[in-house]
Amino acid sequence: MATKDNYTGYFAGRTLVQQRGSIGGARSVFVKLQGNKNELVFPTFGGQIKNPFKGRAKLYAGDLCEYRTNDNGVKPEIFILKTYEVVSASGKTVKIVRDGYRHIPFVGDILGVAPETIGGAMTAATVVGVKATSDAWELTLDTTLTAAQGDVLVEADKAGEGAKMLVGNINTVCSCDYDMLYEPVAETNLTEENADYENARYFFTPCLGGLMYTHKMSPIPACIKALNTSKVNGWFKVGAWGNF
């Protein structure tokens, strides 16, 4: 008999399903430097991902996060920077790059072209359909979104005009890939009265430092590039360690 989460059960027949991929191979994103570094330093408590992917998805080494604390520097929450590079946009249809190293879009995501500065206004639309092709995700939105090839879409705090980027700052980095295999909770700020115990909540601790090759990272919008503290062209640094 199937259980509530449907991940266990019995089917008295034959189920045909396949997985494929590769294990062990990796696209190295971190800059190789000889000498002691200060990347793998973990902040207090870590946090719950407050904007999880809405299905099975993956975070990549070098992906940027916001470790958001209160005014006392505690009660942390993690917001992951999800980015999608536009191939083309026409009316309510937007195609974004899909190459196996990109974030996966889901129905229900609220996306818009990243503003020029963090905190700036943007226009966002809700994804109502996702179709995979060999090299792109074709998104159907609920309203028209103006976007050009090369634009980077990010999550917004609401749909429509006057929205802001959901991620307000970048101060931490994923030190490795993270595979999220379960359906997440639909809402991450549930009170005790309506807490969801059956869907996944993801807790992890990103690192306070990282030095990555920009071209190997997930696509970065200009407003995030402005937060780069590296002095070397083509490198993106999080953290204040090292004078490079």
Binding site: L181, E192, F204
Partner: protein, 384 residues
């Protein structure tokens, strides 16, 4: 002879070779580290098995119970007559996760340690006082762990779930036990604090209702929080009358308006047929200076006598990672305490031109409610 601090017992607590054994000895010496918050030990034992952590990050435990139902009366038949089929009984289960916790930490750099040395050692000539002070600091960490387990145990016993919103870290729901909906009940005809509440009758009625529903009888007990015991139960008119009348029957002194004590109630509660013994629960914790209770204060629990469940626990990723891949510029000493549930870590690292020492406690454990089918949660402040 001048005292050599670098070879002192205190310094060795951080030594990569000797520190593990020494720290373990100190942490598990009941003269040095006491168990100050014992509610969880009264209700839960430690799971002898480790809950494994899977590669996908889940540390999932399963609690399962066979649903026991009594059979029905036979069907009279004529010879050769067959029978109807009986529904098969299942095994009820739920899964939960083991979360991760960390205590406040202590941090001391070389200048601070020099200051301490000058204060203690030059005055006392040995490091016994420093060890005592360290033990006091670690006691606070162990107390935190004890309180956390007690709070969570009391939560799951009175609410059927654990929602963690204490401390300064992550907050949220942890797991929900599969207590049947019909086991969440209200007080009976009247709320228990009502002066006219026939409390013993209402408690007996609740017990009878479940005996009938289950078709089985277990040795049960009521569990009530300390304040409810003193402010509601000891002051209840029916209980007072029952106790005082019994005292008269037994030629014991009774004066007008005398206080009915816990000892008197426990002496005579057993003579009121149909009401199981009442156990008084004393538990409270401190959260950033504020007193909190894991036990919901208006809840009385009716449950089978014995332990409510076990403490599930899993491995600590930090220890695994640092023991496998830790930088050799940073030395770490790990030692277990609290029946193996907690790990204290002593770290020595560089701070500029000198050293720094850190201590904190980590725990990956949670109480699971393992008699959930027979666990009744009674809201004593809401009448039927």
């Amino acid at each position: 002879m001048k005292y050599d601090f670098q070879n002192s017992t205190y310094s060795k607590l951080w030594d990569s070779k000797e520190g593990g054994a020494l720290l373990t000895y100190l942490l598990n010496d009941p003269e040095l580290i006491r168990s100050n918050h014992n509610f969880w030990r009264q209700k839960f034992t430690v799971d002898p098995n480790i809950t494994p952590t899977a590669a996908d990050g889940t540390a999932t435990f399963t609690s399962r119970l066979r649903k026991l139902e009594s059979g029905s009366l036979l069907h009279m038949r004529a010879p050769m007559g067959d029978t109807i089929v009986r529904d098969k009984q299942g095994v009820e289960f739920y899964t939960g996760i083991v979360p991760d916790f960390i205590s406040d930490g202590f941090r001391e750099q070389a200048m601070e340690r020099e200051y301490k040395e000058q204060q203690f050692v030059e005055n006392f000539g040995n490091d016994a006082m420093i060890i005592a002070q360290f033990a006091n600091e670690v006691q606070a960490l162990v107390d935190s762990a004890d309180q956390t387990l007690s709070n969570m145990g009391a939560q799951v016993m009175t609410k059927g779930h654990i929602y963690y919103n204490f401390g300064q870290g992550i907050t949220g729901g942890l797991y929900k036990a599969e207590i049947p909906a019909e086991n969440f009940i209200t007080a009976g005809a009247k709320v228990w604090a009502d002066p006219d509440c026939k409390l013993l009758d209402q408690m007996r009625e609740i017990e009878n209702k479940f005996k009938e529903a289950w078709g089985l009888e277990f040795p049960m007990q009521w569990e009530v929080p300390y304040d409810m015991w003193h402010n509601v139960i000891l002051k209840n008119n029916q209980i007072r009358t029952w106790v005082l009348e019994n005292r008269k029957l037994n030629n014991q002194v009774v004066v007008d308006d005398m206080v009915v004590t816990e000892a008197m109630v426990k002496e005579y509660i057993g003579t009121f047929e149909g009401v199981s013994p009442i156990v008084v629960i004393e538990e409270k914790q401190k959260d950033e200076g504020v007193t909190v209770h894991g036990w919901k204060q208006n809840i009385a629990v009716l449950r089978p006598r014995g332990y409510a469940g076990v403490i599930r626990h899993t491995t600590i990723l930090d220890q695994k990672m640092y023991q496998k891949y830790g930088s050799n510029l940073i030395s770490r000493v790990f030692a277990k305490t609290l029946n193996g549930l907690c790990t204290v870590e002593n770290i020595t690292l560089n701070n500029g031109n000198m050293k720094e020492w850190q201590t904190h406690l980590m725990m990956s454990a949670i109480p699971s409610l393992d008699e959930f089918l027979w666990h009744v949660i009674c809201d004593t402040t809401t009448a039927d």
